[in-house]
């Protein structure tokens, strides 16, 4: 029983938090800019590398070093939007998708040039799990940080979207860009705000993933599938649906390796990412609008 909680359920939730943060950004940009941003994973990865560099320069804790990384990534994202996405604003969606695909390859190559292709740890040393409830539940402190950071960021984004003027305008543009224009909402300003939020949440997801495992130039790319699966499961364009989708997929991936029948893992852990794919395929067939009635095109 405790083995189930400690080795499957808690790691599943941790993974789910990271997917949730990533999927939130994808869903938000999709809702407002109407395209699937393939470069989102690379911004995650780049943010983790920025954090690595800042940690090297200052010796700060990764979660502190992540703050200036967020600012850097947000500025970069605004620049990239201007150069890569804004010229295609009124073009067919597929052009934006292809542009984001190209951007993904460029960012990754740039990281290879500056940091090399070797993966490296963000946190050094082995972390001994902390024990709770007389040792029944145990997990390393870094998992606690991942939970707490995710909750703080989710609350901040929830507050932004439901309580602030610019956040409500973001939801309005997501709802109907045409009406937003007629209402006098400056759509370009809203788009910039969206990129800032997307970049910050992506950096958070990237840093948490690097804390949980390690820095790897392919980490963003590997996250794309589960993040898109999470966004689709929650209903694309529904940021908080994406959060739930991320948690469900994270937990489902880990639980797929639990020895439900006999003593062998139900699914070889090497295949657990397949769960995200399976869930995405099932959702697209059975209910493409997701759990929370997202957009279907």
């Amino acid at each position: 029983m405790w083995e189930f909680v400690n080795f499957y359920f808690i790691p599943g939730l941790v993974l789910g938090c990271i997917y949730a943060l990533g999927a939130l950004g994808i869903s938000l940009t999709f809702g407002i800019l109407r395209f699937a941003n393939f470069a989102h994973g690379e911004i995650m990865m780049l943010g983790a590398y920025f954090t690595f560099t800042i940690m090297g320069l200052t010796g700060w804790h990764p979660l502190v070093a992540a703050l200036p990384s967020m600012a850097l990534a947000a500025l970069l994202m605004l620049y990239l939007d201007r150069q890569f996405f804004r010229p295609f604003r009124d073009s067919p969606t597929i052009m934006l998708v292809i542009a984001s695909f190209g951007l993904m390859l460029m960012i990754r190559s740039a990281v290879w040039v500056f940091y090399g292709t070797q993966s490296k740890p963000l946190l050094r040393g082995f972390q001994r799990p902390t024990q709770y409830l007389d040792g029944a539940i145990q997990f390393p402190d870094k998992h606690l940080w991942i939970f707490l950071t995710t909750i703080v960021i989710m609350l901040a984004i929830w507050y932004l979207l439901t309580r602030t003027k610019i956040g409500k305008a973001m939801r309005a543009v997501s709802d109907s860009p045409e009406l937003a224009k007629l209402t006098g909402i400056p759509v370009e300003t809203v788009i910039r705000a969206t990129w800032i939020v997307a970049a910050c949440s992506a950096v958070a997801a990237g840093v948490l993933l690097a804390i949980d495992s390690q820095l790897d130039s392919l980490m963003g790319f590997k996250m794309l599938l589960p993040m898109f699966a999470s966004a689709i499961l929650g209903g694309i364009g529904r940021p908080f649906g994406a959060v739930l989708g991320g948690l469900v997929i994270g937990v489902a991936e880990e639980l797929s390796a639990y020895p439900w029948i006999g003593v062998e893992p139900l699914l070889n852990p090497a295949y657990k990412t397949g769960m995200a794919f399976a869930i995405m395929v099932v959702m697209l067939i059975w209910r493409p609008s997701g759990l929370f009635k997202g957009r279907v095109f």
Binding site: K168, A172, D175, S176, A180, T183, G184, I185
Partner: protein, 236 residues
């Protein structure tokens, strides 16, 4: 005093002209109604004021200043609010959030105005936390109008506010339009339900094939033989 004037407008989408030499005027405090058969260019005339299509000749004047071909975002800031026929509320936002978005370009405290709008539409006050998409068609129109009124506009443009509504709601919308007008907001309204619309209109224009055909007060047009034959008889 003239609030809004369209002076000899030619306009259309791209190279296709839809309006030919259209002139309309709205004086302070008036309800002006535009009627005409389908495809006559009624809605196009409203959209041309709002910078939604290209005006190739003539000019649009708001109070003293020319606003020909000004983009919609700026027209809003100048105090013209436009309620499109469909898609005129943010369905995923609550009623209150819709009204707040209506006040987006205001930088001052708009809460007193919000209270006034709720006083004008008591039904909306009850449903302020509900998503606008969950309301009935008539109530959505009220949200759309309330949202436009948040700006305390110089003039309100309504594109067929009663389209697709049941007769009961239609009457309610016309009463609302009158009530809004009574607070001092001039209204330029395009309508299909010609008889009822003429009933509340101070003045009306009949457009046919993108051209001015008749102009007069509401009662004059109601009494006009040709207008009666064109709209009122057929409509029943």
């Amino acid at each position: 005093m003239t609030v809004l004037a369209l002076e000899h407008i030619d306009a259309g989408y791209g190279d296709t002209a839809i309006l030919h030499d259209i002139s309309l005027q709205v004086e302070r405090g008036e309800i002006v109604v535009v009627i005409g058969p389908n495809g006559a260019g009624k809605s196009t005339a409203l959209k041309s004021v709002f910078g939604l299509l290209n005006i190739t000749a003539g000019r649009v004047v708001l109070e003293e200043s020319e606003i020909t071909n000004t983009p919609p975002e700026q027209v809003v800031r100048l105090g013209v609010c436009y309620v499109p026929q469909t898609g005129n509320v943010f369905v995923n936002l609550s009623v209150q959030e819709n009204l707040e978005m209506g006040a987006f370009v205001r930088s001052d405290d708009f809460r007193p105005r919000l209270d006034e709008i709720y006083a004008m539409f008591p039904d909306l006050a009850e449903k302020r936390r509900q998503p606008a998409g969950s309301l009935s068609g008539g109530q959505r129109q009220m949200v759309a109008m309330g949202k436009a009124l948040m700006l305390e506009p110089k003039i309100l443009l309504l594109d067929e506010p009663t389209a697709g509504l049941s007769p009961k709601y239609r009457g309610e919308i016309f009463q609302t339009v009158k009530a809004i007008n009574a607070t001092g907001v001039p209204i330029l309204m395009v309508e299909q339900n010609a008889k009822q619309a003429l009933g509340i209109a101070d003045r009306a224009y009949v457009l046919v094939d993108g051209e001015n055909r008749h102009t007069g007060t509401g009662p004059e047009l109601l009494a006009d033989q040709e207008v009666a034959r064109m709209f009122l008889g057929a409509k029943g």
